[in-house]
């Protein structure tokens, strides 16, 4: 049942003397919403870049969708989606041009783009805005569109790098509904976030502190283990714990 889609074992990445990622290990199961938390500089982004095939590890093993990050980054790239905090849409292109560009570089055929693109527009209720330039859209729309485009090629895993930065709580809640929907369709969600209330929405969480994984489990497990009322307390205890040690 629980098929593993990301396997990480003793993964380490050094930049000179500095160890950004220090022998981390974890598994992510298919369809799971995996929250990747940590303070700034804790090594989240570095770990995520390795998994996306942008950075090669110094040592350790990592497999994404069954492909090895050392040698098979091209295959990994075809099977994942990515969305960043900046939404990464082209401001001076229209909604439809953005859709067909991103779908195109993921090697979808014209016919596939047409079908997937139309249904995307319909779901987002953007059909009549298809020829609007991105820069004229409100932030919340851009965010939803950006996410839908990141999964238009039906990737096995989608990496979300602080996807809710700078949007209001209502829009954030609506965005999480989209994440749940994608997850229910079998897409694995790997999400980094600063918002600790969002951590509660995840199936499982890993908390990184200074390059290591300090806590890993479901939100309920973590709260029990660290005797905390909420994720915020868990985060503070973990972060301070290493400082004192």
């Amino acid at each position: 049942m629980s098929e593993t889609i990301i396997t990480v074992k003793d993964l380490t990445r050094k930049f000179g003397d500095f160890t950004a990622v220090d022998a981390i290990s974890f598994d992510v199961k298919k369809g799971e919403i995996f929250g990747f938390l940590g303070a700034n500089g804790a090594g989240k982004t570095t770990a995520m870049r390795i998994l996306c095939g942008l950075l090669s590890p110094t040592s350790g093993q990592a497999e994404v969708c069954g492909f090895d990050v050392y040698h098979q980054s091209e295959q990994i790239k075809l099977n994942i989606g990515y969305m960043s905090q900046k939404f990464s849409l082209f401001d001076d292109l229209t909604v439809w041009e953005n859709i067909s560009f991103y779908a195109g570089i993921y090697k979808m055929s014209k016919q596939e783009i047409k079908i997937a693109g139309e249904s995307l527009l319909e779901q987002l209720e953007l059909t009549k805005y298809r020829n609007r330039l991105i820069k004229s859209l409100p932030l919340g729309w851009k965010q939803k569109l950006s996410f839908s485009i990141a999964i238009i090629h039906k990737p096995k895993v989608v990496f979300l790098d602080e996807p809710t930065g700078g949007v209001d709580p209502i829009t954030r809640r609506a965005f999480w509904d989209m994440i749940y929907k994608a997850s229910s369709e079998g897409i694995t969600i790997f999400v980094t976030t600063h918002y600790l209330d969002e951590a509660e929405y995840c199936d499982r969480i890993s908390m990184m502190v200074k390059g290591r994984i300090a806590g890993l489990g479901t939100p309920a497990e973590l709260k029990t283990r660290f005797k905390a009322k909420n994720m915020y307390d868990v985060f503070l205890k973990l972060a301070r714990g290493t400082d004192n040690a």
């Binding site: 095939g53 950075l55 960043s84 849409l89 001076d92 560009f101 991103y102 195109g104």
Partner: protein, 366 residues
Amino acid sequence: MHNLLIFIRKEILHILRDPRSLSIMILMPLAEILLIGFVMRFEIEHTNIAVYDMAKQHSSVQLIQRLEGGKRFSAKTVDSMEEAERLLKSNKVKAILRISPDFERKILNDNEPTLQLILDAIDPNTATTIEAYMNAVLNDYFRDQGMSYSPQLLKIDQLMYYNPMLKSVYGTVPGLISVILMLICALMTSVSLTREKEMGTLNVLLISPLKPIQIIIGKVIPYLLVSLVNIAVILVLAFTVFKMPLAGSLLLLILVSLLYCLCALALGFLISTKSQSQQVAMMVSLAGLMLPTTLLSGMIYPIKNMPMWLQGITYLMPARWFINILKHIMLKASPVSAFLPDIGILLLMTLVITAISLHNFKVRFK
């Protein structure tokens, strides 16, 4: 290949969606070449010179008429050396020509007549130019008089090949073409790529199945098309407004210009791999390329006059080689073999710059 076409289409859309930038890219060279082309002229016209004619005879009057005949000089006759010097000091004239009293007698006897030319050398460029023109006029005059030798003032019998009128545009226009193409091309790619960095789209592109080389080629091809328009505009101006000759092949000229643009586009790409914002990229492309290209390409200042270490640096200026090729094709119609090494060097530079920037581009992530 399919991916590349999609990428190129996106780039073309970017260019077309921003008509203001596009028009700047095309109009800026137009304005620059007109402005600089008209300002940067080293020839003199209607320069005032004082003539102290001590002979006041037929042949000396004839000489003065000859001086005034071209539009280079306006002669102002004076009656004493003091008066002449006063004019020179008050900057009313740029030079004094003194004709000795025995001028006519010496000419008739086929002897060497004595002439003195005093130049205001505050501006050495103008002074040398005046001297050169004066030499040319005197040379003509004495030849017409049937004299077998050159007068004292003349040291060498000069024949100016390829540019008999010593037109300075023949030198400055090729230089201008190279500076403008360098700036525009480097600016275009560096800004376009750093914009993707700023917008965060570059990360998404790199995580996508697109390969870095596809991103580079996809960026370069649309801008190479814009460069082609620029080349056309500049060449039309060069031939019409500045009356540049075209001794060699037009096709070759365009191909070589495209190669040079490619080199500049690659340079812009290199700049963008090292700069984090559009502003930095723009500053580096403008300030970092404009001065070296103008000063070290041999466009204004002769490379031979530079100290050795500086001469060494000029070898690294793509413009140095490009200007040389331009002059060969436009003025001399030399066989391709004459400038094949220069083409080879430009090609090599382009490849090396591309390789370094591709390396930088990848190294960011490795």
